[in-house]
Every structure is written in C-alpha cells, then in structure tokens.
C-alpha cells in the first residue's frame, strides 16, 4: 500500500511536470505546423510570461486571476510583435538560420529579464500554494492538480477555437497550404503572427501554472529543451501528441529520479529524446507520408 501510494504520488507529480513540458511543446508544434520554423526561445517566452505575472500580481497587487489573464494577453501581444518584426524577415531562409535566430533571441530575452527583474528566483502567492487535496487517502498538492486541470481546460479552449471559429479554421487552412489559403482570401501573414501570439500565450500559461511549484528565474527557459523530447515523442506535428509526449516525459523523469541513482534524472528526457529519434523519428502519432518532389 505504501509503495502503491508512493508510486501514484510520483505519477501525479510527473504528470504535472509533464503538462508543463506538453504546453511548451504545444507552442513548438503550433508554430512548426504553420510556418515550419522551430522556436528555440519558447522556454524563454514562458519565463517572460512568468515574470510578467509576478510583476502584475506581486508588485502591482492585482488579483491573481486578473493578473494572470493580463500577463497572458501581454505575452501573446509580444509573440505577435516578435513574428511581425523579426521572424517574418527570415521566411525562405534555410531552417538552421531560424534555429540560430531564435536561439539568439532566447539569449536576449534572458538578459532582458535579468536586467528587469534581477537574477534571483522570485515567486508570488497563488490560490494553490501550499494547499492539498485529499482524494481517498491520496494527498496531492493543489499546485500540481491546478497544472493538470489548467492544461486540460486550455486544451479544450484551443480545440474549440481551432475547430469552431473562423480564425481557427483559417489557421488550419494556412498551415495546410499557404498558397491555397492565400487565394481564398486568408491574410496568411497576419494569421502566422496570430499563431505566434497563441503560442506565446500558451507559454505564458505554462509559466504561470508552474510558478507555485518552482520559482520563476531567468534560467527557467532551459525547460524548453525537455519540451523538445515531448514534441518529438508526439511527432512534432500533432497537438494532442505533444501533450501526451509531455506527460510521458514528465512521468519517466519522476520515476527515474526515484528508482535510479542520482544524476540520471537530468538526462532522462534527453535519453528518451535520442532513443525516440533513433527508433521512431516520426513520433508515436504521426501518419506515414511520402515526399513528392
């Protein structure tokens, strides 16, 4: 009984961490599906979102929900501007130019955050901090539960948005075939910028949900590297796949931290990633496609 409870505890903690990876991976996938770019600064955008929420809630004394919403909106606007000003210029350049560009942007964001908010870890009070829920003898931290619930709600919202609204359908069309979408009168450029905005907003949500569990600091963005594992497991083109991949990575990492000697936990996500790339590079959920020349 003791072992089973411990295992379940680990699984829930892992799933919570995994949801964060999944949300960051979701940001990668949204942008990749639409523009074939990979945003290596996604983790750093999450960091910016977390810090913004910290400023609004802890400094300006806003209500948690208002502050969080405002932080998400500001981060999304930032994502829009990022695409409109910087990334739109490199469309058509080789892919590794985009990789290096976003890596460089990540360094700039990190330094910017360091100047603005300092290099110490910060945190703010949330309704979930230091509270627990008791589920039939299983004691779980509300912060972990809030991450899982928040992720589920966000996915529901995104799903509805992409399948039911005009803009969402236009986004799907633009990511399937840019030219055809353009001929249908869809403003492809703005749509792409909007996708960047959504992806930045999702990253901000991840940062805010993560803040009760771990403190916000400048190097938080390195979580983005773990999120790559999540995205790759999901096949880099599948939105539910990236979330499931995130949860898998999170749980495997927790279990490795508990059952394997120290030091293995840090490399688990990378090992999983490499193994996945070698054994099944198309991911768990990708359909098979052939290349037309």
């Amino acid at each position: 009984m003791e072992d089973a409870a411990r295992l379940l505890q680990l699984v829930v903690n892992g799933a919570a961490a995994g949801c964060i990876y999944g949300l960051i991976a979701l940001g990668f996938v949204l942008i990749y599906k639409a523009t074939e770019m990979v945003n290596f600064a996604q983790g750093d955008i999450m960091m910016l979102g977390g810090f913004l929420a910290f400023s609004l809630i802890a400094h300006w004394g806003l209500n948690y929900w208002v502050g969080a919403l405002l932080a998400i909106v500001i981060t999304a606007a930032f994502g829009y501007a990022l695409d409109a000003v910087v990334l739109r210029r490199v469309i058509g350049q080789p892919q590794f130019a985009v990789v290096m560009l976003t890596l460089g942007l990540g360094f700039i964001f990190r330094a910017g955050a360091g100047i603005t908010w300092g290099y110490d870890s910060v945190g703010f009070a949330t309704p979930f901090t230091n509270k627990t829920v008791n589920l039939g003898g299983l004691v779980l931290g509300q912060d972990n539960v809030s991450i899982i619930v928040g992720t589920v709600i966000l996915c529901g919202v995104l799903f509805t948005f992409f399948s039911k609204t005009r803009v969402g359908v236009a986004m799907q069309a633009a990511s399937q075939n840019q030219l055809a979408a353009y001929y249908m009168g869809i403003p492809v450029r703005n749509i792409f910028s909007l996708i960047w905005a959504i992806s930045a907003g999702v990253a901000a949500v991840a940062g805010i949900l993560l803040s009760p569990v771990s403190m916000i600091d400048v190097n938080m963005g390195f979580l983005g590297i773990k999120a790559f594992a999540a995205a790759v497991i999901g096949g880099f083109g599948s939105i539910p796949g990236s979330l499931i991949g995130g949860v898998i990575v999170g749980i495997v990492e927790q279990l490795a931290g508990y059952y394997l000697p120290a030091g293995f936990q840090e490399v688990t996500s990378n090992v999983v990633l490499l193994a996945m790339l070698i054994l099944r590079p198309q991911g768990l959920f990708a359909e098979r496609m052939g290349k037309r020349v």
Binding site: E36, F96, L101, R110, A111, I225, A229, G263, L277
Partner: protein, 358 residues
C-alpha cells in the same frame, strides 16, 4: 580588377586562384609566425585561444557551411577530445601520439553519433545534437573516476621533442601548426569528389541522391571529420585552460561555435577563422571598455551571452554572408570603384525547401 581566365582544368582545381593569393597568404603566415616576438605574452595567449577556436570553427564549417547539417552539440566533441588527450597524457603517452588519437577517437564518436541521427532532417538534427551535447556534459560531471567530476582535472604538461609546452608561445605555435593542417586538409578535401558531394548534399539532398551520392555515407563522413577536427581543438584546449572543469563544455559553448560559423560567414573557411577571431576577441574588448560604458551596462551580469545573441540575430537578419561576405562586398566596392552598382551585393532571394512530407 583582376579576372582569372581559366585555360585548363588544372587551374580550376588549384588551391590558389592566382599568384596574389600566394603572396598575401604567405605574408599572413610570416606575420603569424612573427607575432610571439612582437607582442606580449597576454596577446600571444589570446591568439592561441583564437587559433584553437578557429580549428573547431573550420570543423563545424565543413558540417554547417558545406554539408548543410547543423550541430548544437560540438562542445561535447571538444570535451571528448580534451579528456581523451589529458587522460592518455596522464597515463604517460607522449603528446605527439595523444593529439592525433584524441582527434581520431572524437571522429569515431562523431561517426557513431552521426550514423543514427543523420536520417533526420535539419531541425531534428539540431535537437538531437543538443540532447547529445547535454548527455555528454552530464557524463563528464558524473564519471568522476575518469574526469575527476567537479573537482576538475589537472592537465599534465605536454612535451614536443623534449620541449615543454607550458607557456603561451608553445601553445600558440602548436595551435598554429594544427590550424594550418586543418585548413589545408579542408581546402583540399573540398576540391575532391568527397567535398563536392558534401556541397551537393547541402544544395539539394534529392538531386545529390539522384546523382548517385550515398547520403548516409557522406553525411556520416562529414560528421566524423567535423567531430575529429573539433577533437583536435579540444586536445589543445585542454592545454590552453590547463585545468578541465566539466561544466565548461555546455550548450553555451556549442552555441558559441555555431556563432563562429554564422558570424564568420557560411560556406567559407576564411569565414570560420574570422568568426573565431571575432568571438574570442569580443569578450576581451568588452572587458577593456567595461568601465567606460554608461549606466553601469558593463557591470551587468549576462552581458556577454546577450551580446552574442544580439549579434547572431543581427547577422542573420541583415548580413547573412557574415564577416566574410562583408569583406567580399568591400573588396568588390574597391575593385569596381566608380562603377559599383547598388544591386551588386544584394541578397539573392532564396526559398527554403519545404521539409514537410506533403
């Protein structure tokens, strides 16, 4: 303005395009040989560091600039070379044997890693090499019986023909010799079928494959050669820093290598060396002007990485040719002086091939 009229194939294959090249590069060689006699110990040491990074830069240039594959894990290869060299040296193997072994062993590691990952496209390769780099970095930290972990590893003094290489000048000349060897090797390789196959793969994998180029073989080869050169640089780097700490070989260093390649100018060996000069000397320059900067910018922690990030962004956006491209533009401007057309150096529109399988 000089026009090179090619009248036979031998000319097309020559390393030197014309006599002017021989003259100027010869002069450069004499100058680099004379520098330890002209400059102070500090500058000689710094230039030695530049040469070491240039060796790794040339290695990475073959991969990124000529084969079109990206690697964000080259710090790991530098580390493998450094530790191989130092561990063998501490076992009593002479330096002239450990240096090539470090290069060969790293090349082997590169091939072993390259083989499975090279089926992937550019993006996946970037992610996979990033993961590889961070795994190797963790191994350096945890494998304490070999690497000494966080306690570090004191690198023994190497001897070349009985002369100890324990000062800046010794490292300088050794690195210079290795750099010249590496540049000579790359320049020659790029003229052989192997080099041309690599360039063909960069320009279009599908057409290269249609021309009968075995993609996996040449990509693995490129990866191995690139890793091997970085391993050589690593062996020298060990003697340059004298004390190996495992956290030196992290992602930041890998990014610095890629910055060398991008800032120097993709697809140019000269660019790799210029990039190394830039990347190594920029921190020194910052250190010199640090106190004169307004608003305490100079005291800001994290200034260096952010500046590297900013430069990388600006170069990719506005000067995709890098320093080498800038040099070519300037040369063109002077050669064609009154007749320079505004469109001469304009970036050609290029459309990336879709990697999507649809």
């Amino acid at each position: 303005m000089r026009y090179v009229f090619r009248t036979n194939y031998r000319q097309d294959l020559a390393v030197w395009r014309h006599r002017g090249d021989v003259f100027w590069y010869g002069l450069l060689l004499l100058l680099t040989l004379a520098i330890p006699m002209l400059m102070g110990e500090f500058y000689v040491g710094e230039l030695g560091g530049v040469f070491i990074f240039a060796i790794a830069g040339v290695g990475l240039m073959l991969l990124v600039g000529y084969t079109g594959l990206i690697s964000l894990g080259h710090a790991a290869f530098l580390g493998i070379g450094a530790y191989t060299n130092s561990v063998l040296l501490s076992k009593g193997v002479p330096f002239l044997i450990t240096l090539p072994i470090a290069g060969l062993f790293t090349a082997l590691c590169g091939a072993a890693i390259g083989r499975p990952t090279l089926r992937m496209s550019g993006l996946y390769l970037a992610i996979a090499t990033l993961a590889f780099g961070s795994i190797v970095g963790t191994i350096f930290q945890k494998w304490t019986s070999v690497t000494g972990g966080f306690d570090g590893f004191a690198v023994p003094t190497p001897y070349v023909f009985g002369i100890p290489l324990d000062n800046a000048t010794g490292i300088y000349y050794t690195s210079l010799v290795v750099l010249i060897f590496v540049v000579w090797l790359s320049a020659n390789m790029l003229r052989t079928p192997v080099g041309r196959a690599m360039v063909a793969i960069r320009d279009s994998e599908i057409s290269a494959q249609s021309m009968g180029i075995h993609l996996a073989r040449y990509k693995t080869l490129a990866f191995a050669i690139s890793a091997g050169m970085t391993g050589l640089a690593g062996a020298l780097f060990a003697h340059y820093v004298r004390y190996l700490a495992p956290d030196a070989f992290d992602v930041l260093l890998s990014v610095q290598f890629v910055t060398i390649v991008f800032v120097g100018g993709l697809g140019s060996i000269r660019g790799a060396i210029l990039g190394a000069l830039f990347v190594r000397l920029l921190p020194q320059f910052i250190a010199i002007i640090r106190d004169d900067l307004p608003f305490g910018i100079g005291r800001m922690p994290g200034l260096e990485p952010s500046l590297f990030g900013l430069i990388l962004v600006l170069v990719i956006l506005f000067q995709p040719g890098g320093i080498d491209g800038l040099w070519l533009k300037a040369k063109h401007w002077f050669q064609a002086y009154p007749l320079k057309r505004a469109s001469g150096g304009r970036r050609q529109k290029s459309y990336a091939r879709s990697e999507r399988l649809r």
